[in-house]
Symmetry: D2
Subunit: 350 residues, 4 copies
């Protein structure tokens, strides 16, 4: 039995970790960390857990925690883990970080986009970027996993095969992303009140959203060159789900654009054996509702010969594959369990 601790267990991602781990037969949650709710019953914070979780919220004493568990999940604000993580902790247990602290290899880029100083840059190098389908081999055996962001997971997986195989010009890549409101977290802000979000859609963080450099770094590795993308997130009146619509100019070969079948083959090359990536049938557009509550990513694409562009689309549940589900998938890899253990969640409809 893997003993797990969660720091930040009362945010939405933390709550989803609890939901998933409760159904994971090889894991036992030993520590529900939550600075805001110390000494309160966890099931009083998330009443869906009533009768399922009897524990009380504990503090975020990660040093103590490290001695008591096999893996720590941190679903904490940016900069928090970087400020407390030590070699000693990592020598005792695995750490899977759902924040951005160890995702970006260039500490200068991190500090520029996040506007904070990184307190443990020496640990960045050893962290594996936990995008399981792409980096599976790099993840195995690691002590520290940087679990990817929700937008980034969806954005990267949607474009990855075509970038990797050189079918699109990466400098033309535009990512228009739409997210449910759980992505905004459980903090009490006026902008996230029901009446402000409901019956409304808006873009935000235009040209400045912090997931941009993460996407650029990872897709840059695939492209074999530095790339710059436009990434625009939008807030959608729904609880869960991310949909990305990505546009890029196809590279013509001998004056001809690749056909549907040729592009399909590229996607299949990378994803046809992936449990959690579903390449939809031709003509079917991904919808967030079809993956809700599950670890799936649904992908598809349309070629527009009129403009010479491909429109790529991807959908996932931001709280599952975009956060807690992928974290558990990373844990499974680290502990040499079947990758889908505890993640055979059938999407819920309606």
């Amino acid at each position: 039995m893997i003993r797990a601790g969660i720091i930040g267990a009362t945010g939405y991602a933390g709550g989803e970790l609890v939901r998933i781990l409760l159904g994971h037969k090889d894991v036992e949650i030993k520590w529900y960390g939550s600075r805001s709710y110390i000494d309160q019953k966890y099931a009083d914070v998330y009443r869906n857990m009533f009768t399922l979780v009897e524990d009380t919220c504990l503090d975020d004493n990660i040093e103590k925690l490290a001695g008591e568990v096999d893996v720590i999940f941190t679903a904490t604000p940016q900069g928090f883990l970087a400020g407390i993580l030590t070699e000693e902790i990592l020598s005792q247990c695995k750490v899977i970080d759902l924040s951005a602290d160890y995702r970006i290899k260039d500490v200068g880029v991190y500090e520029h986009w996040y506007g904070i100083k990184h307190e443990s840059p020496q640990l960045i190098k050893e962290a594996a970027y936990g995008l399981c389908e792409i980096n599976r081999e790099m993840i195995r055996g690691k002590r520290l996993i940087a679990n990817p962001g929700c937008y980034t997971t969806c954005s990267i997986l949607t474009a990855y095969p075509l970038v990797k195989e050189g079918f699109i010009d990466p400098s033309t890549l535009i990512i228009d992303a739409k997210s449910g409101t759980s992505g905004a977290g459980r903090g009490a802000k006026t902008a996230n009140l029901y009446c402000e979000v409901n019956e409304n859609i808006k873009a935000y963080g235009v040209a400045t959203h912090r997931h941009t450099p993460e996407i650029e770094e990872q897709l840059g590795y695939a492209a074999g060159e530095e790339i710059r993308v436009n990434f625009t997130p939008h807030l959608v009146p729904m609880n869960r789900g991310i949909l990305v619509t990505e546009y890029a100019t196809l590279k013509a070969k001998n004056g001809k654009f690749p056909s549907y079948e040729e592009i399909k083959v590229v996607y299949e090359k990378y994803y046809k054996d992936e449990t959690f990536i579903r390449l939809l049938d031709q003509g079917v557009c991904p919808e967030t509702k079809w993956v809700e509550g599950s670890n799936y990513v649904d992908l598809n694409f349309v070629i527009d010969e009129r403009t010479g562009r491909v429109i790529m689309m991807g959908a996932l549940d931001n709280v599952v594959k975009g956060a807690a589900g992928q974290a558990v998938q990373n844990m499974n890899i680290l502990f040499e369990l079947p990758e889908k253990s505890g993640l055979e969640l059938v999407p819920m409809f309606p």
Copy 2:
């Protein structure tokens, strides 16, 4: 391995049966019946099932089906099963009917409220009313289960202990119920379009809703006398969930109303060992979101000494405990499996 067939697999309750049974380790779905989608891939109708279900929809030939499976679930319109069910079918397999056809013992009452003739009244008597927590013993060994309605499950369980133990005057019982829109089914009707339901709440079927006699019959058994209740359903702009708010006059004993503790004891007498019924802590009101996707019923009550009434509240997921989940719970009882097999669904939040 229990072989199961579903007739009406493409309605919302049918789709939920599939979701639940896919996670039930002792069951294999052999027949996805759907008159409207014959020969279409099931996963083209419910794309959440893409890669999970490879089957094609079949017709509703229940006689053929009966020879191939151990249990048939019928999630069909009122009157359908009554028109085709035979002794021969029942001699071959179990039938769990999610429609109302065998719920009401008095065929005259059924025909009055449903406005149709019952085609197989001779089978009504042997059907067990599958409200598991109340009728568990009557269900065992039966061939035919009348799975309770969504509103009725919630309405009955919420009031049952106080009716049964005589703490309230059943003639004063008023049930004000609120349901998510999946309860209205997947038929293409203008009244159920997004723009008609969204940002709206209304009562419907006032004083005439068909779940009324079902509630009256079952609570009448508990009361030991015929009762008449007011039952008013409302349509709420959400996908899933039923909340009932029930009002009844407390019976005073020696001029005193029962205390909170006395009533709590009554609820605990009936429910404290029930996995799927959660008696909330004092002061906590049930919310549909806390049970979403699960088989739980959350219950609580408030005594209003000013008026001498008790306000009882219950919440469940209409598609799970109100339909498919309870059907699987009945199946588990019939096949002598642990009652919670396949039903250990953690509510999803948010």
Copy 3:
């Protein structure tokens, strides 16, 4: 031109006052009071007002304000106005209070339910309870209007004729109310976040909601006796709208319950000439969507002969007829304008 000032202009009711008054040809808003946003542009707080309102938010200096306007609307927390209102202010301008401070005649009842001390009880007596359709004559000429609560307006108007004319037993009255989330205000609370309210319904304030004594007082006047009611509010995932479903036992006359036509006549007696009360056709249930954005109250009823009860239903927009619209209606009465001036708002659908 009536000069108006608003204290509390940046709450939802305050914002709606601005929306309505901008379309009122006889009114000019001179003061946008908002303690939280002093010196910020009003249109930066409510961007729907961009280019429509150029003013900056001012403080809540009601004494200064009183000298500059003809009417002050206060959309402020309970107790605020009671703490600052003086004879001197009332001698200079009309005050229409959207809080509860002057609604309840018995200061002890107010202090009991609201849990605060009333700082100006001497002014309660002169305040008119501004339920226009019932109290129109009492409102005329007054200096201080206690604008009714949203739930109370709907609850009272729905039952008033039958209480007044003795058709129901007021001791049996049960009010089950459902409200959109704007009724919870614009304060940044976790419980009102999008993800907490969306896809959810719950009761709250069961047997303790502060609108209860207000309903009891006003319906008590109609009944000619003290009454006690059960009032249960519910939070519905929609922005606007209140629906009440009210249950009461009909009084039989000569062993017979009143007929539909007899009850209809009673409703018509009180409401048939009322612009803002719409008595729906037989069989049509009120829906909040049909009155959204307008000052209408839609009413109807169903007789249940089986139980001897009448089910009365009413729907209004909580921000309009339940708050700002009724406040403007009161203003029109006070200033001897046509009662519907500025209020000819056609409900918006969808």
Copy 4:
């Protein structure tokens, strides 16, 4: 008094025409045409109109109607008006068509994208494309107005100044559009049911949506050359509103991209005197909620120097400025009324 007739009065756009025209002091609606609801009371179809509209739905006899009114609005399916419009009708009254029949000048393009034969191509030439802010002068004096599509109005207005003034390369223009569900109409389709749309977002009509050629034609006029754009619509779980996010590569001048101020000047050149176009302050992103119920279009842009692109954003209410509101605006121009008559609708929030 202008006498108006509406053919297609019971669709969502038709209903909104009624809402707006009821508040237009110079217009009287004489004909509520609706093939589906002939002889039914209009207020039984749209109950928000109860007590406001006493009329009964009439057929779509446009020849008879033409003799009785000054203007006909047609909110009908594609191809309908083209099949019945005649010179004789146009000689008797103005026609404002909310369908696409006369929007596209090249009948071959129309027939290609719409897949139907145009039955009155000889009338296309005289129709004015009723995008009021751009084509005001062309509209005056016309008999036939092709009212623009909802997506196209938003898409064109958002990019027009930069295309017209040559600040962007039009071949790089990508339009990612998001619409509320009223845009899908009131037809009873499974895909538009509450439970299918709610908690979901998807793209549809990718690379094939019929508004594409309309956008290309109008922006082509502005560019002075043929252009091809990518236009991708998405369905959002809300009733009203369209948001477009548009991406285009800025043209550098002397190796420098234009500054924020330079681009702002271009937008102001075209829009600063337009009542219904609001250029938001720097850094503020348009939100559909801020224009709900009104005829406003809110616009803004962000320069991304990293990629050399400008991100342009526009929001409007698809039923108002995207349909009925703009139709009334066109009527005002045709009848030489102030353009904002009947359209001074303050956006409703929340």
